[in-house]
Subunit: 143 residues, 2 copies
Amino acid sequence: MKKNLSKIKLQRIDNHVNFVATNETDNSILMDGSPAIGGKGNGVRPMETLLMGVAGCASIDVVLILKKMKQKIDDLQVDVEAEKIKVGDVSEYKTINLHFTLSGDIKEKKLAQAIDMSLKKYCSVSKILERSSKITSSYTLNP
Amino acid sequence: MKKNLSKIKLQRIDNHVNFVATNETDNSILMDGSPAIGGKGNGVRPMETLLMGVAGCASIDVVLILKKMKQKIDDLQVDVEAEKIKVGDVSEYKTINLHFTLSGDIKEKKLAQAIDMSLKKYCSVSKILERSSKITSSYTLNP
C-alpha cells in the first residue's frame, strides 16, 4: 500500500532563530523563537502553531457540519486561549479553550452540536493535543 | 500566580474553508482544508502546522545548543517527512522524521548530540507529539 506522506521543509533565514517553513503546495510561514531566547516577535512561535492548527481544524469541521445542517454562516472567528505551564524542561498547554463567534442564519443548538462533533470526533489536531491538554470550547452566536 | 496565557485569533476569509490565524505579535498564517473537502492548496493545512511546529522547535534548540558548544553554523535546513494514517474518524502521524542538513564548522558528534538533546529533552512540541507519533531524526553534515 502506498504510504500517505506529508512533507515540510524548514530553512534558517538569518543568523539567529528565524526560519521559514514551507509545505508541499508552497505555502510558508515565518517562525521565530521566544523573547527569552532573543526572538523578536517577527514570526509564529513553534508552540503557537499547535493552537493555530487546532483552531483551523475545528473551524473547517464546524463550517462543513453547519453546511450539511443547511445553516448559513456569514462570519466565523475563533479565539484560542491556552494556559502554558512548565513540566520539567518543556512547556505544555494545561488547557486550551476555543471560543467560536459566528454570525448568520444559524440555530444555536446546531452550532453547539457542530462544535461538539468536531472536538470530540472529527478534528485530528484536537485528538492529538487532547493527550496532553484539556480542550474546551465556548461560543457566541450573532453578537 | 499569574497565568501564562497564549492567544491565537482565527478568522474565516472566504465562503469556503480558508482562514487566517494570527498570534499576539501579529504574525499570521493562511490556512486551508484538504483537497478532499475542496481545499485549493492556498494555505497551510491544520495537520501540517504540527510538523512545522516540531521542525521550528527542534531547529531553535539545535541552533542554541550548537552555539553553546562553540560550533559555527552557516546554514540549517530541516526536511520533515511524516506518515499519516487514519485511526477511526481522524488522522494521525504514525511516524515523523526530521532530517537536518547543516553546513558550517561543526563537529559531527556535537551535531548528533544537539539533535538528540532537543528531541529527547528540550523540544516542547516534540514532547507533545511523541504521545501519538514515533519521532525520529537523521542528518547530513556539510553536503
